[in-house]
Symmetry: C2
Subunit: 256 residues, 2 copies
Amino acid sequence: MSLRPDVQDLAPDALMSPEQLETALREIGATRYHNLHPFHKLLHGGQCDHGQVQAWVLNRFYYQASIPMKDAALMSRTDDPALRRVWRSRMEDHDGAGDNEGGIERWLRLAEAVGLERDYVMSTRGILPATRFAVDAYVRFVRDRSLLEALASSLTELFAPKIHEERIAGLLEHYDFANERSIAYFKRRLNEAPKDVRFTLAHVIERAGTRAEQEAILGAVRFKTDVLWAQLDALYHAYVAPGHIPPGAFVPEDRR
Amino acid sequence: MSLRPDVQDLAPDALMSPEQLETALREIGATRYHNLHPFHKLLHGGQCDHGQVQAWVLNRFYYQASIPMKDAALMSRTDDPALRRVWRSRMEDHDGAGDNEGGIERWLRLAEAVGLERDYVMSTRGILPATRFAVDAYVRFVRDRSLLEALASSLTELFAPKIHEERIAGLLEHYDFANERSIAYFKRRLNEAPKDVRFTLAHVIERAGTRAEQEAILGAVRFKTDVLWAQLDALYHAYVAPGHIPPGAFVPEDRR
């Protein structure tokens, strides 16, 4: 664990101040968030070939499609109507509401823009098993761990706007498929994620009454960074280097 | 799905004969079992360096340690005392009984022989997140899916003796740490796995009364091959090429 010096000097059972807890959270982002992963550097720098972009979009769809199930699992665990009401907006963001088609639909539009069949993507047949294992682990974490940990695991959104900005700029600059319509998902998230995370950060900081609970929050965020990182490790191994695609997974056209 | 021609000619809902089902199972082994994975070729051919062997032993410990939990989950789901009695011997094999120290203890001996601290290995602190996600997916599969699928997921043992023989020969030939005592785990499995799998194969073939149940058996075995394969993909990515070790995972001494 690498916390900043001011937290390391605390006694093991002493409560962190809200500022210290937030600093410790941001330290996790600065050292473990997937914006640091080599796959994202390739993607945002225009160094991914068409098949690699397709593989990323295809696999990441499984994550997108699982998020509202994760959020529903969280809402099923709290008897607080106010918390459920706030959290419900996440499901609207992803599944849609009224004129808003929702993030999953926007992701499918991206998939079509990179030349993937909508039905194939939705079937999740071609995803890497490691993607499924990592994403399912996240949904189950939210189902099975304490409500505080379940809430905290979403706090990687603290670090998301920066990666979305990099991605929007990188995709528009380097890839023919990228335009306002195809990458609408990311533009939208620039507004959605900060709204969600402000509430959640304040909520978990307030509810964590012991150092053990504060450490559980940090553990949940570390777990979530592992979930995100492992997905990119698997993509890199299968589609970048050495390019060992596991049996049954998507094979880009130029490698068939 | 790649079944042999005689099965592909069956109507989609026609029951396979026991021989056809067994042939289809062995076809999965021939195309997806992890003896085909490049990491095992390196390991058994003496091309792994010390840190790579350590990483394999460390990560695979998490699998070994989880197997009896998987078997207990299975036994908790059947009201058949005869099935539970047969299955219980798997827990004895791994956890020990009387003079038999058990497979987990034998694996820890292997870990010590390759220079890992026993307590560090048992803590599972240094394993790859992808290892944890894959292995936990297996335990949960056995908890959550039908009993038939839970039983069938162990049928990768059909393919295990061959890999154990290759491994015993390869480790003894190429690595200084390998001797009768340090690799006792694999020798023992040469006798245990065939005993277990004979029973399970007969049992699931007999219980599968519809083609859908037969397909569920095949799906469970494919799932299990994914669990095994994904663990080696993660090892390869982190410790062979490109050698991107995820944040927080074990770092071999020569890369510190």
